[in-house]
């Protein structure tokens, strides 16, 4: 069974949206804690982050959003953010507060694998990562490795990145951990193709766009991804 992770930006509607995503078949929900300068994000998540900040979604409000989401769903919830928020809040204090609010782990997009080794988090690797880096990320990661399928930022692409297959093969040689692929996966077809290669997929930007149309639309979209992931062909190019 392949894993489907859905990313949503923190906001007033997020707990209900997360519930809808889980009803549609999400196994993991990532919750974006917005940052003023999100280097790894493309236009969709960047704009969603700007709106969230305008609505007052600062760290304390995001932790409340996380706790409210936890009251509605039982799947793993993973805050995804940038190091500046943790620097201000305190790394240990942030990890503790997030765990108390119901977080299962963390993703910090701009924190290199060798920084803050005491902070348990899901590590990201990219097609440009060296084998040494992938091995270190696998050693330090929290449960699974996040494979960034592209060089570049989050956001929909026309086709699944051809770099994913090579990255999965390299990572498989270095670790037995689950490998979930994200960045640039938006359609059911791409999700199926990625799930055929990796152990799971993460869908962000498109989910954030669909979430703007409400829980019903999101549930339907996630269900289409779920179906695609579950029917992933054994071979894909």
């Amino acid at each position: 069974m392949k894993t489907l992770a859905i990313y949503l930006m923190c906001g007033a509607a997020t707990p209900k949206l997360a519930e809808a995503a889980v009803e549609g078949g999400a196994d993991i929900v990532e919750l974006g804690f917005p940052f003023s300068d999100p280097l790894a994000d493309g236009p969709v998540i960047r704009r969603a982050g700007e709106r969230a900040l305008d609505e007052g979604m600062r760290t304390a409000a995001c932790l409340e959003c996380l706790a409210a989401t936890r009251r509605r769903v039982e799947v793993p919830l993973i805050p995804m953010t940038y190091a500046s928020l943790l620097e201000a809040y305190g790394y240990d204090r942030f990890a503790t507060a997030a765990a108390e609010a119901g977080a299962t782990s963390l993703i910090v997009a701009d924190l290199p694998v060798d920084a803050e080794p005491g902070l348990r988090r899901v590590q990201l690797v990219a097609p440009t990562s060296t084998d040494e880096r992938i091995a270190l990320a696998a050693e330090r990661t929290d449960g699974w490795l996040y494979l960034v399928t592209v060089t570049g930022t989050t956001g929909a692409r026309g086709d699944l990145s051809p770099a994913l297959r090579t990255l999965v093969e390299r990572a498989r040689d270095l670790t037995g951990l689950p490998l979930y692929a994200g960045f640039g996966i938006s359609t059911p077809e791409q999700a199926a193709a990625a799930a055929a290669i990796a152990d799971g997929v993460v869908v962000g930007s498109r989910a954030v766009e669909v979430a703007a149309d409400g829980p019903a639309a999101l549930r339907e979209y996630v269900a289409s991804l779920r179906e695609a992931v579950d029917s992933a062909p054994l071979v894909s190019s």
Binding site: D37, S84, A88, D110
Partner: protein, 297 residues
């Protein structure tokens, strides 16, 4: 290539050689006032590289002549139309382009900021300032200066100057920030553009806007080596206001016949307040670009 008007060329030229060595033929850069963009466009023209410069849409209006110069030099200037539409966003967008096109593209960052090893690369390339200044003052005065002083935005001219005197414990090192962009004087630890340094951030770690009459100092972060020098006590950092910089700008022009850029005018303002006799000021750029801003005040 000295027509580019500032110390920025030291770095642009060195990194262009690095890009050639890396086999990359496409350069991306960010620019605020346009000085680094012009320096980058210049070296790209010289080396035959494709050049894309990201610039805040707001800055493109304020610095229209530099936009035209970059175009003349064959660079494509891409407006950045989100956030504050200034240097901070232009830097983010240049980094996004770089990480997307990393196989073919070198990011020619303009200051001693950004992810490792950029702060070191830029410091090494700008260290020519300190080396030559040290030689020149020894030749002219027969002794080291009591103080070496430079303006600090991202901090590249200052880190280059300081590099020449770090081991001379008797030389005071002073960096001068714009008071509205005092990442060192008023900042706290944060992470921006791939480095941990002293930043203008709020209690939640969200990056704040900087404000200065000088676009070259208008950046909410600063090179991490400056934060280290501040914390170690080797260098001290003070602030100069827009008005103080303007007064020094006019005074140097009227008394020495040198029109300085507004950025080093901040350093000049604080140099005038020092008690020491022999003070070395880094005059990092010339002020043609700032005439309209000064005359409109």
């Amino acid at each position: 290539m000295l027509h580019t008007g500032a110390h920025k060329l030291n770095n642009a030229l060195g990194q262009a050689l690095l890009a050639r060595r890396l086999g990359k033929r496409r350069i991306v850069a960010e620019t605020g006032a346009g000085q680094h963009g012009v320096a980058t466009a210049t070296v790209c023209a010289r080396f035959g590289f494709e050049c894309v410069v990201y610039m805040g849409a707001e800055d493109m209006i304020r610095q229209a002549p530099n936009v035209e110069r970059m175009g003349l030099l064959g660079a494509e200037v891409r407006p950045v139309e989100f956030g504050t539409q200034t240097l901070k966003e232009a830097t983010s967008e240049a980094i996004r382009d770089w990480i997307t096109n990393v196989e073919t593209t070198h990011y020619l960052i303009g200051s001693c900021v950004g992810p490792a090893p950029y702060p070191e690369i830029v410091r090494e390339l700008q260290a020519v300032i300190g080396r030559e200044a040290r030689e020149q003052i020894l030749a002219a005065e027969g002794r080291l200066p009591e103080v070496a002083i430079a303006c600090v935005g991202g901090g590249s001219n200052a880190i280059g100057l300081f590099a020449g005197f770090l081991d001379d414990a008797e030389v005071r090192l002073v960096g001068v920030e714009a008071v509205g962009a005092a990442s060192l004087g008023a900042g706290r630890a944060g992470v921006l553009h791939g480095s941990r340094s002293s930043l203008l951030v709020d209690d939640d770690g969200q990056v704040l806007d900087a404000h200065s009459i000088s676009a070259g100092l208008d950046y909410p972060g600063v090179g991490p080596e400056h934060a280290f020098l501040r914390d170690s006590g080797r260098a001290e950092y003070v602030g100069a206001s827009d008005e103080e910089a303007l007064a020094s700008f006019r005074r140097l022009a009227a008394t020495e016949g040198i029109i300085p850029a507004l950025e080093p005018s901040h350093a000049l303002a604080k140099a005038l307040e020092l008690q020491e006799d022999l003070v070395l000021v880094c005059l990092s750029g010339r002020g043609d670009k700032d005439l309209s801003a000064v005359l409109s005040r």
